[in-house]
């Protein structure tokens, strides 16, 4: 019993972080119908910002989180302007954006590799190696903090989307871009904004990831599959779905890791992605797979 509870807690904490990693991807897909294959590589960029701030200046990763988000959000605006804006009128929008974001992922990986080598890194503030003990339960502080901060950010994002005027505009654009435009929403501005928020979330996730997982520039290949499965199971574009799917899959992966073997743990996500696409492509909270 204690063992099950233990695995559950670890799964949920990691699931929180994965939810944050996926939420930006989901938001960008929802508003712009772009599957941003570069998302995980930008998370890694955020992790490096946090890493160097810690290493050179001793800044705590959680303190660095807002800074990393803002830097990455600004990079998001640039990327949108340089790369995606001119695609909006392209007849091959989906193909172009998939290829472009894939190319971007490779460029980011290459650049980070060139700058910082492919050594595994991890940020180690005190709490990353510390833990709470409750009876027999062992709760690593780093994962717990990261999970809590992630879920807090997601709750904030959800409240913003639900209640603010810009949040209304983002949701409206997600559900029906043309109708939103006809009601006076500047959908181009909303696209830039959503992309900036999405990449800002990648930056935030990078700060947390930096002390939870070890990372190196090429790690994003593994993460994109993991995030895809979370976003697809959640129903592409649904933030709530992403969170539920992340927690769900992460708990399953934790059990698989504990009972079958750690090497099988990540495979959980890949198998899930495959099965979901075959059985229920619209995911838990998504629309039927016809997309507008």
């Amino acid at each position: 019993m204690a063992e099950i509870l233990q695995i559950l807690i670890l799964g949920l904490a990691l699931g929180g972080v994965i939810a944050l990693m996926g939420s930006g991807l989901s938001l960008v897909f929802g508003v712009m119908r772009i599957v941003n294959l570069a998302h995980p590589s930008l998370i890694i960029a955020g992790a490096y910002i946090t890493y160097w701030a810690f290493k050179l200046l001793g800044v705590d990763p959680i303190v660095m989180l807002p800074v990393a988000s803002v830097i990455m959000a600004a990079i998001g605006v640039l990327l949108y302007r340089l790369m995606l804006e001119r695609q909006t009128k392209s007849a091959k929008y989906s193909e172009m954006t998939v290829l472009l974001t894939f190319a971007l992922a490779m460029v980011v990986e290459g650049a980070l590799g060139g700058l910082f080598t492919n050594t595994q890194r991890i940020v180690s503030p005190d709490y990353a190696t510390d833990a709470f003990f409750i009876g027999d339960l062992f709760i690593p502080k780093g994962q717990l903090y990261a999970g809590i901060v992630s879920l807090t950010i997601i709750v904030g994002l959800t409240l913003f989307l639900k209640y603010s005027r810009l949040g209304y505009a983002i949701r409206a654009t997600t559900q029906n871009r043309e109708a939103a435009e006809l009601l006076g929403v500047n959908v181009n501005f909303i696209s830039v904004l959503a992309f900036a928020i999405g990449i800002g979330l990648a930056g935030a996730a990078g700060s947390l990831v930096s002390f939870v997982f070890s990372f190196f520039p090429a790690k994003h290949g593994e993460w994109i599959a993991m995030l895809m499965s979370v976003v697809v199971l959640g129903g592409m574009g649904s933030i709530l779905g992403t969170v539920v799917a992340a927690l769900f899959l992460s708990v399953i992966a934790a059990f698989v890791g504990a009972w079958i073997g750690a090497t099988w743990s990540t495979l959980t996500f890949f198998v899930a992605l495959f099965l979901i696409l075959l059985v229920r492509p619209q995911g838990l909270f998504g629309e039927k797979p016809e997309m507008a």
């Binding site: 209304y168 505009a169 949701r171 043309e178 109708a179 435009e181 006809l182 929403v185």
Partner: protein, 242 residues
């Protein structure tokens, strides 16, 4: 005649594609119901999209209250007072009725005033009030169309353009939609409508526009079109229209 909106021989198309409209014109007079008829693919929806700024106008002018609207964005044209309800899919399916109405007033800055107007609309449309917290996508076709039309009233526009509001609705429900249009028009909202069922559309309108192959063939009082034997033959399916 003091026209509210004047479209003069415009040419327009999608992107760099061929001109879909070429020689389309129409005159909209305040307070009346105007109906655009024409066969499938005539360019009726395209004409509405051109007026509301979704397409670039290549030639000709759209003049509203004496102001040229060519080249303005949809949100700017909306602020001028022209509201467009596209054919199907005008709503946000996963927003509630109330949230949809709130989006209808997106351009209003005074949030208190917006809430007051939403309450006013819900007061006037009991079917919407009963479903205020229901997702729009889960309502019946007639209820959704009612919401789409009611939503335009939030910003008190001068002109409401409705693209086939009767599409896919049962005859009894269609009559309700025309009743709402009459009510809108009685309140001083000018209605410009596209209707597939030409006979029905014209019978419920003051002014008719016949569009075919992207150009206006005829425009005039609805009774005149209804009684023109040539137009009857071509666009009203003979004496007895479908």
């Amino acid at each position: 005649m003091s026209e509210l909106l004047q479209v003069t021989n415009i040419t327009a198309g999608y992107g760099d594609g061929p001109a879909i409209l070429d020689g389309a014109h129409l005159t909209v007079e305040p307070g009346k119901v105007h109906c655009i008829i024409g066969p499938n693919g005539a360019g009726k929806s395209t004409l509405m999209k051109a007026i509301c700024g979704m397409l670039t106008i290549r030639k000709g002018d759209v003049i509203f209250k004496g102001k040229r609207l060519n080249g303005m964005r949809p949100d700017q044209i909306l602020r001028e007072g022209i509201c467009f309800v596209p054919q199907e899919r005008a709503l946000f399916p996963k927003m509630t009725v109330r949230e949809n109405l709130r989006m209808g007033g997106f351009i209003l800055n005074d949030q208190k005033e917006l809430e007051r107007r939403i309450d006013g609309i819900l007061e006037r449309f009991p079917i919407l009030r009963e479903r205020a917290d229901q997702h729009a996508g889960t309502m019946s076709g007639g209820q959704q169309q009612t919401l789409a039309m009611a939503r335009t009233l939030i910003i008190k526009p001068a002109i409401v353009m409705l693209d086939e509001p009767s599409l896919g609705l049962a005859p009894k429900v269609i009559q309700e939609m025309f009743d709402i249009m009459k009510m809108m028009s009685a309140e001083g909202v000018t209605v410009l409508l596209v209707e597939q069922n030409a006979l029905m559309g014209l019978k419920n309108s003051d002014w008719g526009v016949v569009l075919d192959l992207g150009r206006t063939l005829f425009e005039g009082p609805a009774e005149m079109i209804l009684s023109d034997p040539r137009i009857q033959e071509l666009y009203l399916g003979g004496k007895k229209a479908a």
